[in-house]
């Protein structure tokens, strides 16, 4: 064995335990779920029988699935869109170096570091029917007729879910875009100013194109996160009221752990995975091109 080969062997040996755990707890389950999605495996059919693509057929002919699917895409669209817009505005503000800015930079990531379960309690407490902050505030300013149980109202529950997503993840956009802003050479703006470009032109011709890469990373990451996220919705509304906030992730969980229809849940999860694989590949290409 050459020295070179020996070193490679040592390398593989060092990563082997990590890979083994991954194989066992990530890839094997994914493969197992894939195969089980073609069976009738459930709590009541402990010995699975191959039933072909029946689970998938049932899914795609079910209008509830399509409603859930549409709602999941809407959630991703609104949450990521608002996160990006607000995250960008805040990043631009941070870049202004106003007084007291250090303080803002300090608190900004706090929503992101706390458990989702506590986020849900905090928002539910704010939105309580009679004694929640929001309803008390509405009463005080004479808008008492607008008070309601916000999470229990099908018209508002979805908007609240979007808001909680924005609250939790917007800071991540801000720090990413802010770091991007810092890396734009000041000379670009000076040159543009000499050429007479106004603030809007400077933003659209310089800032936005220069932030292309961090923007893509942060958007793709959060498309994935929002699409796959389960606990924010499950813990706050459980998909209700009357299915108004049901998304694919909560439907998978309910199918598998409320109705114990494991193979049906797996089929739905596999569909989710197939969709997100496209996004993942885009993401990895971005990361790889960064290293090259």
């Amino acid at each position: 064995m050459t020295r070179e080969k020996k070193r490679a062997m040592t390398g593989y040996l060092v990563v082997a335990p990590v890979l083994l755990v991954f194989a066992l707890l990530m890839f094997y389950p994914a493969v197992k779920a894939f195969f089980e999605s073609f069976t009738n495996y459930s709590l009541f059919n402990q010995i699975p029988i191959f039933i072909g693509i029946d689970n998938y057929k049932v899914l795609i002919t079910d209008s509830y699935f399509w409603q859930t699917f549409g709602r999941t895409l809407l959630l991703v669209f609104f949450a990521v869109g608002l996160q990006y817009l607000l995250g960008m505005i805040l990043a631009l503000l941070l870049n202004e170096d106003l007084k007291g800015m250090k303080w803002v930079k300090y608190i900004i990531m706090i929503p992101w570091v706390i458990p989702v379960a506590s986020t849900v309690v905090m928002f539910d407490w704010m939105m309580l029917p009679k004694y929640g902050f929001i309803n008390m505030l509405l009463q005080t300013v004479g808008l008492g007729h607008l008070t309601r149980y916000w999470f229990g109202d099908p018209n508002f529950a979805f908007a609240l879910i979007v808001m909680m997503h924005v609250w939790r993840n917007m800071p991540f956009y801000t720090i990413t875009l802010f770091a991007g802003l810092k890396s734009i050479p000041k000379g670009f703006y000076e040159a543009a100013q000499i050429d007479g470009a106004n603030a809007w032109q400077r933003f659209f011709k310089i800032t936005l194109p220069q932030l292309k890469y961090p923007s893509m990373i942060v958007v793709v990451l959060h498309v994935l996160w929002t699409f796959n996220n389960f606990d924010l919705i499950y813990l706050s509304t459980g998909g209700g009221p009357v299915g108004a906030t049901e998304v694919l992730a909560t439907q998978v969980y309910q199918t598998a752990w409320t109705y114990f229809e494991y193979s049906k849940g797996s089929a739905l999860g596999i569909l989710m995975m197939a969709l997100m694989l496209v996004f993942s590949l885009v993401y990895i290409r971005l990361v790889r091109s960064d290293e090259a």
Partner: protein, 278 residues
Amino acid sequence: MKKDKNLWLKYILLSLFAVFILLPFVWILYSSFRSEVDLFAGTFFNNQKPLSFDHYASVFSSGQTAAFGTYLKNSLIIASLSTVIVVIAALFGAYALSRFRMRLKDGIIVTMLLSNMFPQVLIVIPLFGILFSMNLIDSYAGIILTHVILGLPFGIWLIKGYFDSIPQEIDEAAMIDGLRPFGVLWKIIIPITAPGIVVAAFYAFMVSWGDFLFSSVISQSLNTQTLPIGLNKFFGSTQIRWGAINAATIITIIPTIILYAFLQKWVVEGLTAGSVKG
């Protein structure tokens, strides 16, 4: 100064953001000190009883929330062990991927990043059966293993990035001085890249501390249930004791906030390191 024209507008915008971010915290923190009577009196500031730590005391005493101390203990054990394991595994993984020439290196990195994008709700279905056959259901080990999987890909990727930024010549010089490869890792690379390692540790802790999905499926009893499960249980009970829940929530978020407070600068640096093209 030309800039000053919009200064007030910027401050208003900034205040709106600050209120949006902080209001839920401030409100629940304040509420956690108010008596149950005042919580449901419909007033903001007119408290009949003085603010007190009563709810915090009640959380750890008998009654509906008696299990809270156990949730806290379980969370602390699970999150700390997960963090230690992630950091050790990530150090070795990152070292191998950064310093050894391996043909499968790219493949390994890509698959690891890819794995973090599988829907967790899907993975957890077969995982239950797998952990069951390994006798790991309702055990610390079972939950810790899943949390390690959650924190590790980012940890390896992040630490590898920091390792890559140290020129190989430094390794070679140290080896000429008689250090073995792992001596180089321990004595030279780790001290230089400590900020990155700390961020990976913080991320692993945060992920484990906050996980609801995996814990909810693997935990079957009070022996292993963590704080997020506990919060959800208080919440789902028929008679919600809001004062106690508010205090429990504050206790749940405090460890991550304190850790973040100490590591804030490094965390922000580490999280953004990968997204800004150098």
